[in-house]
């Protein structure tokens, strides 16, 4: 994208966010946050629990007042917009599950048209069209007439995203959109949001604890730490070792070359393995999980030989020790023996 096409949707300059804690002189604040979001980008805000991710997102969405500093929405200070104007620039999806009885999915999504309707909230043709589009974009058209407290969490989260889409704002902020969801729904929601950023040129900012997905799918990470809030591409974060800050103790580490997290164990010893293919890869994975340092077989006295299954035969494992030789038919049995 050429530089002149880069339209900054949201930017903060030396922003302090927080709230007063009653009865205490020093309130909770996170200081000097300077981050930005460009049109069409999907950004994940990551950081440990309780660091203030929700507080930052709510401050950006204008739901709680900032402490000091500057928030620019589409280049103008957020405070220059009145609530109506802001609701057409920015929509918010919170962690709250709306459990209103007697409300259909379509009615919930139609809430997105709130900033555009008259004093009775009656929907016009254009509004119905937008609602229908939004519902179909998140793939729940078949649920339009269902009551929102009778659908699954994943479906309801899609409906909430459709509601934000119907609000027709260039910027969508989501506070932990996948918090209640299982893995497949989490992937589906990330994929959906990614698509929306690409195809609809929406700026999407979300908070998540799913680092693995954030590293794969995000254009940018905002990493919120005690000391500072950093921003950059996921790969920048890996290269500069920022992610290590998320794990202050030494139980978990980050493998910069693989871009993966691992658990640190006391080494249980080293083991030589011979073989190839998928069965070999999985065997190495299992041994590493058990804390072994795995080496390629090169004439050691004791080693594991992986025999990959050919066609219909299942793979098998041969453990050769100083004096013994044992055959196993699953990785589980093999590592149990070690």
């Amino acid at each position: 994208m050429k530089a002149e096409n880069r339209q900054i949707t949201l930017q903060t300059e030396n922003l302090d966010v927080g709230y007063a804690v009653p009865g205490k002189t020093d309130s909770f604040t996170r200081r000097a946050i300077s981050v930005s979001a460009v049109r069409g980008e999907i950004i994940a805000l990551i950081g440990p629990n309780g660091i203030g991710k929700s507080t930052l997102l709510k401050t950006l969405a204008g739901l709680i007042p900032k402490v000091t500093g500057q928030i620019l929405v589409n280049g103008s200070p957020a405070g220059d917009y009145n609530p109506d104007q802001l609701s057409r620039l920015l929509s918010f999806v919170s962690t709250e599950k709306p459990m209103v009885p007697q409300m259909t999915v379509a009615e919930l999504v139609a809430y997105g048209r709130f900033p555009y309707t008259g004093w009775l909230g009656t929907l016009k043709k254009e509004d119905h069209l937008r609602v229908r589009e939004a519902i179909s974009k998140v793939g729940i058209t078949h649920l339009s007439g269902n009551m929102i407290n009778e659908i699954s969490d994943g479906e309801r989260q899609r409906a909430m995203i459709a509601r934000a889409l119907a609000q027709d704002t260039p910027l969508i902020i989501l506070d932990e959109p996948t918090a209640f969801l299982d893995i497949s729904n989490t992937y589906a929601i990330f994929h959906l949001l990614h698509e929306l950023a690409r195809k609809e040129q929406k700026t999407i900012i979300l908070s998540t604890h799913d680092l693995h997905l954030a590293l794969q799918k995000m254009d940018k990470l905002w990493i919120m730490l005690d000391t500072a809030t950093l921003e950059g591409a996921p790969e920048d974060a890996i290269l500069r070792g920022w992610l290590q800050h998320l794990f202050p103790d030494d139980k978990v580490g980050f493998n910069a070359s693989k871009g993966e997290f691992f658990f640190r164990y006391k080494p249980a010893g080293s083991l030589a393995v011979e073989g190839g293919g998928k069965a070999y890869t999985m065997t190495v994975k299992a041994l590493e999980r058990k804390g072994y340092q795995v080496t390629r077989f090169s004439g050691e006295k004791s080693y594991i030989s992986v025999k990959e299954g050919i066609k219909s035969t299942a793979p098998s494992w041969e453990l050769t020790g100083q004096e013994s030789r044992m055959v196993f038919h699953s990785i589980y049995d093999l590592v149990s023996e070690l």
Binding site: P83, P98, G145
Partner: protein, 348 residues
Amino acid sequence: MEKSINPFSARNRLLFAGLAFLLAFFFFLDIMLGSVLYPVAEVLQTLFSPEGSDPTLSTILFDFRIPKAITAILAGVALSVSGLQMQTIFRNPLAGPYVLGISSGASLAVALFAMGFPGLVAGSLAWTGTWTVAIVAWMGSFLVMLLVLAVSARVNDNMTLLILGMLFSSGVGALVTILQYYSNESVLKSFIVWTMGSLGSITGTQLLVVAPAVIAGVLLSFVKIKDLNAFLLGETYARSLGVRINRSRLVIFAGASLLAGTITAFCGPIGFIGIAAPHLARVLFRSSNHLILVPASLLVGADVMLVSDMLSQLPGLNSTLPINSVTALLGIPVVIWMIVRNRKFASL
């Protein structure tokens, strides 16, 4: 898809028509029934050409039964609309018109007044509907309203407000009990009769005050229909949709207090209609949209109040039953039935 959003479906229009018909029917039935039963033809003739008809019947109809039936309608409308607003704002199914302490404020004012000026009220058992007591009760609920509004401007959290309102009610209730303990028998009896509520003591002139107040309160609720809908999703979403929370809540509270305060002032505290009617409306119309729920609750409330009034003066009974007991006995089973039938009830 429009079908799943359209609030005025054929079914709902039919329901509205049905409730409106019931309202007219119950109104007529209510003015037919009383300690003396007149033939339908005679009542109709007196209604439409009062000249030359029985002057006693004319007096009974125009001075007693019609004002009472109109009062019943106004009370039903006012209490159910303010109850609906409180349930929505607090997202709590057990909230009602009195959740912010309006009735306890009125009770305290009336109790204090009766203790302080026993001469003004002594000797008459029926305080309800007298201008003095109405004004005192209204002042009591108005003061409570101001207090609640002042607090709500500072407290951002609705749950906190709800708890404060309940605590406030309990505290005031304790004060009223102390006052009762030190009252003499006749004042005590009059006070207890007042707390039982009555629709029958409102005069035509007083209706000229009550009716405009109720109409104003209902109009205010219509103005805030859109915001009420937004409050259903919770404050965070309401704010993100552009609702100015504090300002909007202030207007809704003022309207609800005007409605509940006026009825309490002139009829005494009347319970359960304000809690049960909005729930009945939700179940009947299967909607959460206030564009439906406000007019629906208003009609259901008026209908139920007319029925309650008829039950309180069943033919064969020489005197009327306290209206507050009738509405409670009618309202409580409805609420219980809805809780048992619909387990998601508690999630509002």
